[in-house]
């Protein structure tokens, strides 16, 4: 078998212009597909950042909430009910909302303010400067040192600022696992200070965070919360809900899917076409090989080898190009949201295999149809 693959490879690679066209088609398609999907995954990951950063197992929220930033305040009894459910180890309130910081030059900067439960500070970030107890000091805020940090003019411990007409002071710099989608800096403070400093409606609790005693308690907790008209989602469910919102309920997801489909079709048509002409050009020779004594399955395996070889090389080049591009982009733009997962690589590979499959199907049909007698007659 080895020899015919070597022949097949030479037929393909020695035809430099067609081989190049095939590679360009597939590389281009893979590059675009991987880029599109990685960008979307990056955006989704950022949109779910608070869920990861706070780290609660169960999030209680209004059923209408579909991303963290648009929380809907809930009355206090949601918290007390949560605490009374059997199987709840503890339940704490979380404030999550927006505020305006006035910078030294008088301009305003939007910020996200997270108010942590005063008793437990559940969901607190890792500090890189300052002490966590200082969060209880007068007007104290922690600032997250992420890509958005500079927008607050890089405050340090002791920096004073104005937030919604209240005085604030930075008591610590924090680090979180991933930064958010909306490009605004994040401040942490206590729940009580958040609700007093930031004007809000009648209700103040954005989320109730629950830690169950064990995983088996989760269904009961969810049932009980539903009884009072709210949703208790595990962090995975919440992430899924947010992702579904961006994927299906905003133009973003649809556009990305469309672009991915278009890249696939473009790649398929370029390489399918080229492969087809390649087969047509060699058709009489394949016919001659048939006359000489090549079996149908040997010719099929040669064609499959050619198309899969090209596709896999193109796949490698495409993935390489996409990751190079993303690496460079991330060096230049710290906020560049793109994240390549194995699912994306697997999906792109699947698409490439489909391209190879369709191209070789056309080639195989042609080659099986050809009659050695027609070759013989010339």
């Amino acid at each position: 078998m080895k020899g015919i693959f070597r022949i097949a490879l030479k037929l393909l690679v020695n035809d430099k212009s067609k081989f190049t066209a095939l590679l360009v088609g597939i590389t281009f398609a893979v590059f675009l597909m991987v880029m599109m999907m990685s960008m979307f995954t990056g955006i989704l990951a950022k949109s779910c950042a608070p869920v990861y950063n706070i780290g609660a197992r169960i999030w209680v929220m209004d059923p209408a909430v579909n991303n963290t930033i648009s929380s809907i305040p809930m009355p206090d009894y949601v918290l007390s009910t949560s605490r009374s459910i059997e199987g709840v180890r503890y339940a704490v309130p979380l404030y999550y909302g927006g505020a305006q910081v006035k910078l030294k030059d008088g301009t305003f900067q939007s910020v996200t303010v997270i108010g942590l439960d005063d008793a437990t500070l559940f969901g607190r970030p890792e500090l890189i400067e300052g002490k966590i107890e200082d969060i209880f000091a007068e007007n104290a805020f922690l600032v997250v040192k992420d890509a958005e940090y500079a927008k607050l003019e890089k405050p340090t411990v002791g920096t004073e600022f104005e937030i919604n007409d209240n005085r604030g002071v930075i008591v610590g710099l924090a680090r979180v696992a991933s930064s958010g989608l909306f490009g605004v800096p994040t401040l942490y403070t206590t729940f009580k200070r958040a609700v007093t400093y930031i004007p809000s409606a009648r209700f103040t609790t954005s989320y109730v965070l629950i830690e169950p005693k064990s995983d088996t308690d989760i269904p009961r907790i969810q049932r009980e919360i539903r009884k009072i008209g709210y949703d208790a989602l595990t962090s995975e469910q919440f992430v899924r809900k947010i992702s579904d919102f961006y994927t299906y309920k905003t133009g973003m997801g649809m556009n990305i899917m469309l672009m991915t489909a278009i890249s696939f079709i473009v790649g398929l048509s370029i390489s399918g076409q080229t492969f087809y002409t390649f087969i047509l050009e060699n058709l009489d020779k394949f016919g001659a090989m048939k006359a000489i004594g090549a079996k149908g399955r040997e010719l099929i395996s040669m064609i499959l080898f050619q198309s899969f070889f090209t596709s896999l090389v193109g796949y490698g080049l495409g993935v390489g190009a996409a990751s190079t591009f993303m690496t460079i982009a991330k060096l230049r733009l710290p906020e560049y949201a793109a994240q390549t997962t194995f699912t994306i690589l697997g999906f792109a590979l699947l698409m490439v295999v489909v391209i190879a499959g369709i191209s070789s199907y056309i080639g195989v049909r042609k080659v099986l149809q050809i009659q050695p007698f027609d070759i013989f007659r010339g």
Binding site: A291, I292, E298
Partner: protein
């Protein structure tokens, strides 16, 4: 004389159906012995290529029987037939059908590669046959760089590299000048043909008739005459 190498009896082939049916070959019978050089001659459209294809296992007849040393060719399955062609029959097509993207040497090696001969060994043996046809120094060129006569010789090398015992040539000299054509046929007759093999040549070219042992004349799908060249009787 023992068993004929090839025996074809009552061969029939038609194309199309009903009104459009053309009888390409009808009731053709002949034998080819070991060591024999047989020509099939006749006007264009008389069915020469069709007959040749049926006896070499690449076109299924509508009627009749072909045996190769007693084995019924058309009773075999596709794979068995392909194997028989690979091992026992060498073809030279009218337009050589050499792969333009392979070197001359690799083109010659194709039957060996199909027989799963290891690559380097296949190249070594192919080189021997390129030497036989006098093209050793062209081994690494692409076929397009060769002249028509040289390409013809490459095709011959490819046909004989697997040591088949039946050689099938369709119009081997059609695109060559008289001298080159004669040389090639003379070469095949003197260097390739031996008592274990036979060669069947379809031709229009009367300049090469002198090399034939037997000449079959075809007209309108029928064999109309058999001529033995008595000079060649052993």
């Amino acid at each position: 004389m023992g068993e004929a190498l090839i025996r074809a009896s009552n061969m029939a082939k038609w194309f199309g159906e009903g009104e459009a049916r053309t009888m390409a070959v009808r009731d053709a019978s002949f034998e080819v012995q070991h060591g024999e050089m047989l020509y099939i001659v006749g006007p264009s459209g008389s069915g020469k290529t069709t007959l040749l294809s049926m006896v070499s296992g690449i076109l299924k007849p509508n009627g009749g029987k072909v045996t190769v040393e007693g084995r019924d060719l058309w009773a075999m399955g596709d794979d068995e037939l392909a194997d028989l062609r690979l091992k026992r029959i060498g073809f030279v097509f009218q337009d050589y059908h050499l792969f333009p993207r392979l070197t001359t040497l690799e083109n010659v090696a194709i039957p060996l590669i199909l027989k799963k001969v290891e690559w380097n060994e296949a190249m070594r043996r192919s080189m021997e046959y390129l030497e036989v046809v006098g093209l050793k120094d062209r081994a690494n060129l692409q076929p397009v760089k060769l002249s028509g006569g040289e390409q013809q010789r490459v095709a011959i090398a490819r046909a004989i590299v697997g040591k088949p015992d039946i050689l099938i040539f369709d119009e081997p000299t059609a695109s060559l000048d008289g001298d080159t054509g004669r040389k090639i046929v003379e070469f095949v007759k003197t260097r390739i043909l031996d008592e274990n093999r036979c060669i069947i040549i379809v031709t229009h070219d009367s300049r090469i008739y002198e090399y034939a042992d037997t000449i079959l004349k075809m007209e309108d799908g029928k064999i109309t005459g058999v001529e033995k060249n008595h000079l060649h009787e052993k």
